[in-house]
Symmetry: C2
Subunit: 120 residues, 2 copies
């Protein structure tokens, strides 16, 4: 019998195609911060990661999608400037829709599954 | 505009709690093979992995859950013998239920998301 537990399984929706990882919670959060701040430096700060790591995530977004999600602005004082394109906003919106659909559809089964997990 | 594409995103439902991975497609497949064959050796063969890797997955199942999902049988000629417990069968059933719920709920949004991915 499953025990009573306070554990819960929080969904982290990851999108892979083939064996390759394309999009997930981290990239969604990065797009959120870029849309808000227009700056890779500020987004990196908000996510407590290095500028280099955030920049690599932006590069990875560029390689995984058919059209740019982020437009990097170069030169001048706008080091690390970046704006989220309309495509980027649509991808982010769709991802949030996927997250919500998954979370709602699995809520009950997740609670039942969690009862079997060992409390850490 | 998203392009026409033949890409599709196949769900791989992973269950994490906290930052720890608890259960996913690989462990589910392992339980399936153990239930069918009663043998870690046979399960490893079916999954084209080493006996050691399969054995480590069984150990990891033991550490993540409050009750045993697999009972290992020791000694004699039954090296690597293993049976899936009733709890293990219930966990596997719940996982398949979660997979199905997720796949059904996200089908349409996944198709729309996939149209933005770059064909590899």
């Amino acid at each position: 019998m499953p025990r009573k537990t306070t554990l819960s399984i929080e969904p982290r929706y990851r999108i892979n195609y083939g064996r390759k990882f394309a999009f997930g919670p981290g990239k969604a959060e990065l797009l959120d911060h870029l849309a808000r701040t227009g700056s890779i430096t500020e987004a990196a700060k908000a996510m407590e990661m290095s500028y280099m790591r955030a920049w690599q995530m932006v590069k990875s977004l560029e390689s995984g999608f058919a059209e740019p999600l982020v437009r990097r602005l170069r030169g001048g004082h706008a080091r690390g400037g970046a704006e989220v394109t309309p495509t980027g906003r649509e991808v982010l919106r769709l991802y949030r829709e996927l997250e919500d659909a998954e979370a709602a559809a699995t809520k009950e089964s997740r609670a039942r599954f969690a009862a079997f997990l060992r409390d850490a």
